[in-house]
Subunit: 292 residues, 2 copies
């Protein structure tokens, strides 16, 4: 059996995924739980790491994600674009010297607009390192916040984040539209109609239209959630001004990934879904081997 | 002294404004309170009307606004566009026969998209009836939901509602951006920079940029609220595709009205603020005189 060399932790705001890794970058075991930042009291991250070692073995730990923010274990900073995987490996933030480190995030400044990420940079650079995406490519990572990352020569050249997922959640929980957004969201006619509405470039008006169209019996109430999702995801994709035939690699699980792939194709580009966990494992293994 | 002829009530979701009116349409007295729909239990609207009569006199009452919705006193329906002030006067919903009536709302269907309003139609048609706006004009009513109404030959020809105000409130209360949106919102450099950002047509990305730009010290934290307001209001105005030099009458109080006027001018059109209370009084007086 291959020997475990280190533990990788993709440590986010609400969830956490730990990987037992071999020195060659093979994933030997994984474990997912809800011990994200919001579940850990300040000052108790060391105890969390000790608990992981009890289950996975007494190994070095390499973390990435929001655990490296001011609200996490320690502020691991941001590396400005362009960022290579070597940049990340050279500038780890050691929270337990020689034992536990956090990978920094990435930042990009375009004129007066700034952008930041934490954790996604490992997936992005890992996807290229593992050959899951070309060295020159556009990668899309949907989620609460969606990252659109341009890779060039294998580096993270620039990126842009959108609030699409957070906005849908806000509308679903707190808005006057909330009563109408309980339905299933899946690819299909209602989602496609939402994509077509997105193409009008009038999001603020079309969001009100979701409710009014149901009030006036123009649309089945059960379809509103999928239509609104198509409107939001379509608006997100439309903002990226993709060129016809452009290839986009989507790093996501099937559910949300399939919706983004449908939207990207609607706007004339090609979409391919790739495994975000495999990309993370490849990226963190590469950082580990470069940092040693 | 002019004799009071009826009581007009602009009865909304959270607020209510009562007007003692003369037969000639003069406002003799007004009163504003927070006895909107959400403050009144179902079935107790009659008691509310009786209390108004105790203060204003035993007069007929003519209401408009969300009080005419399924969650209000009674569903007063919607008149489909185009709507004239005579249409409204001819189809009052009498909740206390001969004593108390509610003006219907207005609806507009454009392809698969529906739109509705309640209360604004009285202001819009009243603005034209009172000569505050031309018979052929574009009127803008900012608020939780912003109405953009096209008047033609003095009729309400078509309109479109946007969720701009509601969205800003959601972001301010519940989003990851909430901590950054406590600052003042007023016309000025930060608001104007938000308008310029809106012109990029990338709202979902620029909303994330509000927070990231503060994290990276690219923007003063005190300016974020005004910048985000400019981004949202600018996006709203941009969606309307105004033509250069087009005139827009803005029905609003000074605070929000001035922000919309600044945004409309930024996008190349002319903006003039007009008094929404005067427009309501003119509209409801006209409906009253036509209905008698």
């Amino acid at each position: 059996m291959t020997e475990a060399a280190f533990i990788a932790v993709d440590w986010g705001t609400t969830n956490r995924r730990a990987y037992m890794m071999s020195g060659e970058g093979t994933v030997l075991k994984t474990e997912r739980d809800d011990r994200g930042l919001t579940a850990v009291e300040p000052g108790r991250f060391g105890e969390e790491a000790a608990a992981i070692r009890q289950r996975f073995g007494d190994l070095p730990i390499l973390c990435a994600g929001m655990v490296g923010s001011v609200r996490g274990w320690a502020d691991a900073g941001y590396r400005p674009c362009p960022v290579t995987i070597d940049d990340l490996a050279r500038q780890l933030c050691w929270v337990e010297p020689g034992r536990t480190a956090i990978v920094s995030g990435a930042s990009h400044v375009d004129g007066q607009r700034g952008d930041v990420m934490r954790g996604e940079e490992v997936q992005l650079l890992g996807a290229v390192a593992a050959g899951l995406a070309p060295a020159d490519s556009l990668l899309c990572q949907p989620g609460t916040h969606c990252k659109w990352a341009y890779m060039a020569g294998g580096r993270l050249e620039r990126f842009r984040t959108t609030v699409t997922g957070e906005l849908f959640a806000l509308l679903r929980r707190h808005s006057l539209l909330a009563d109408y957004l309980g339905g299933d969201v899946r690819p299909g006619a209602a989602f496609d109609a939402g994509l077509a509405a997105a193409d009008e470039g009038a999001l603020l008006g079309n969001l009100f239209g979701e409710r009014a169209s149901a009030l006036l019996d123009l649309r089945d109430k059960a379809d509103i959630a999928a239509h609104a999702s198509g409107l939001l995801i379509g608006t997100d994709v439309r903002e990226q001004r993709l060129t016809p035939g452009q290839n986009v690699q989507v790093l996501a699980d099937p559910g949300l990934g399939d919706l983004y792939c449908a939207a990207i194709r609607y706007f004339g580009a090609n979409a391919e879904r790739i495994d975000s966990h495999a990309a993370f494992a490849a990226g963190i293994a590469r950082i580990w081997s470069l940092a040693r």
